[in-house]
């Protein structure tokens, strides 16, 4: 499993204020979605890749590995949109006739799919810029200042922390099971995995009680008050954000206007 988390903490941009990075990624994400333009999507893909690889100092192969992750969905989803049912005699680029209809690809569906693929990749790149350069705990801090109920942000923080505790635990359990040939056949795999998951649940339940005792012992009084992390204020990041937004908007407008 590839978690973005480890890279976020080691990114060169990790200490830049999370608000700046959100501006840099989420606004372009919205623009990308709104315009649905090929040129704009391409520009977004390139900008976000450069920002993450060059400025966040992530290796290109690792970045490409992440970009491949959502392709599974994209292939299924896009094939479905790409191939359509047409009346006989419709001009198809590629197709097959079954009964009274023709199934295949025409110029319209190709154009739609292409736009969709690029838009999705553009949007994914934006999200990756945020997640590969911003530690999640920084995002919680930003969320904590919004109108979101405090209890939700607290739950997020706790869940995020315990995900790693449980992941380590279940990995060790599965290794121990397999070393006793617990994956020898489907039936054994299934029942032993089920038992491990139940055990994990019981352990999680017991741990939640110990954790609560731990919180209490440090004076927990119903509120999770902690100091805030401090970030380097990055003027450059804001300037870059504004520049990118203007660039994207003009790319989008141009395409819309001239309809290339």
């Amino acid at each position: 499993m590839m978690l973005t988390d480890k890279y976020a903490y080691s990114s060169s941009l990790s200490r830049v204020s999370p608000e700046a990075k959100m501006l840099f990624s989420l606004v372009p994400l919205a623009i990308c979605l709104l315009f649905n333009s090929i040129a704009l999507s391409l520009v977004t893909i390139v900008i976000m890749a450069v920002a993450t690889v060059k400025f966040g100092k992530m290796s290109l192969p690792t970045y490409m590995g992440f970009i491949m992750v959502p392709l599974g969905f994209m292939v299924i989803g896009t094939l479905t949109i790409l191939i359509n049912r047409f009346e006989q005699g419709h001009a198809l680029l590629m197709g097959l006739q079954v009964g009274q209809y023709a199934y295949g690809i025409d110029a319209g569906s190709l154009n739609l799919s292409l736009k969709l693929v690029l838009r999705a990749l553009g949007a994914v790149s934006c999200m990756y810029f945020l997640s590969l350069n911003t530690p999640l705990s920084d995002l919680f801090q930003v969320l904590g200042r919004t109108k979101l109920p405090q209890i939700i942000v607290t739950l997020m923080e706790l869940i995020y922390r315990y995900i790693f505790v449980l992941l380590e635990e279940v990995e060790r359990m599965i290794i121990a099971k397999d070393s006793r040939l617990g994956n020898i056949n489907f039936k054994t795999s299934m029942s032993s995995l089920g038992e491990i998951i139940s055990m994990l649940f019981i352990r999680a339940y017991q741990r939640s009680e110990r954790i609560y005792a731990g919180l209490e012992s440090r004076g927990y009084n119903g509120q999770f008050k902690t100091i805030n992390e401090e970030y380097t204020y990055s003027k450059n990041m804001y300037i870059a954000s504004v520049a990118v937004i203007i660039l994207l908007l003009s790319a989008g407008m141009t395409e819309r206007f001239f309809y290339i």
Partner: protein, 284 residues
């Protein structure tokens, strides 16, 4: 002077057999006291009672001579003054940001932000964790998490710090570094240290007093030297002598050499052995 005293302290989980059974313990101020006992001896229950996580069924706890009331105010007060470092730091660290986690206890004391920040930085220095302060909690090693957990307790500047099995899960270097760290902190701040452990070899090196517990009862207590002079008692409660002390015991009892049987550290044993060697040579 004793900073903590318990009198007749009893507790049982859901009416099962007593986890604490009339426990009388005195913790001298500014010293390190070990609570010894095998698994299930009642050490952890004792600590949770001292911290107000558990309310004793009967008996009393005195802090600095004053009887502790197990009401909201009394418990809050006790938690300010007694900090616990749990055995598994994963049970203690709840935030993925190390700095935030450390600040939690201090924030709960209702201190000003500047004060909290200053204390956090102090705790970071005291525990030597500056190097990985910006890593997420889950990326730290077990030993590093342990230090962060200690920092999270020190930040509250308690008068007593309790450590449940501080060396469990650490390799020998990690273990001695943690114990060294505790000694330094004790020296600098005058804090009272209580450790639960079953690792006997560290006792003569780092502790002044010791209690032996078994099945929720206190078996014996006193200065470390005194405790270690009762090997039979220790053995009958799943404990053993430190290895060096064991060697001295055998030399004394089996081989009838007149070595100091209570020499439990390498330096004490060395002195004891040198003494008999020179006595023997001088005698002839």
């Amino acid at each position: 002077m004793n900073i903590i005293e318990t009198k007749n302290l009893s507790y049982s989980y859901n009416g099962e057999k007593a986890a604490l059974d009339k426990v009388d313990i005195n913790i001298p101020k500014g010293k390190t006291t070990a609570v010894l006992g095998g698994n299930g001896a009642g050490k952890s229950t004792l600590f949770l009672t001292l911290n107000g996580v558990l309310t004793p069924e009967s008996g009393e706890v005195f802090f600095d001579g004053k009887r502790v009331k197990y009401d909201k105010k009394g418990i809050t007060d006790m938690r300010k003054r007694i900090g616990i470092v749990f055995q598994d730091p994963n049970d203690q660290l709840f935030s993925s940001s190390v700095r935030k986690d450390i600040s939690f206890g201090a924030m709960n004391l209702g201190l000003g932000l500047d004060e909290v920040r200053a204390r956090v930085e102090l705790a970071i220095t005291q525990t030597g964790i500056a190097e990985y302060i910006d890593s997420p909690t889950h990326a730290l090693s077990f030993g590093q998490k342990k230090r962060v957990a200690i920092a999270g307790v020190l930040v509250m500047q308690p008068e007593v710090i309790i450590l449940d099995e501080p060396t469990a899960g650490l390799d020998s270097r990690g273990a001695s570094e943690i114990l060294q760290l505790l000694s330094e902190i004790k020296e600098k701040t005058g804090i009272t240290v209580i450790l639960a452990t079953h690792e006997m070899d560290i006792i003569p090196l780092y502790c002044d007093f010791a209690y032996v517990m078994d099945h929720g009862r206190v078996i014996t207590g006193g200065a470390v030297k005194e405790i270690l002079s009762k090997p039979e008692l220790l053995r009958s409660h799943s404990l053993r002598l430190p290895r060096i002390a064991h060697l001295m015991e055998i030399l004394n009892k089996e081989d009838k050499l007149e070595v100091d049987m209570t020499a439990a550290t390498i330096s004490a044993a060395r002195a004891a052995i040198k003494k008999i060697v020179s006595v023997k040579s001088a005698g002839n």
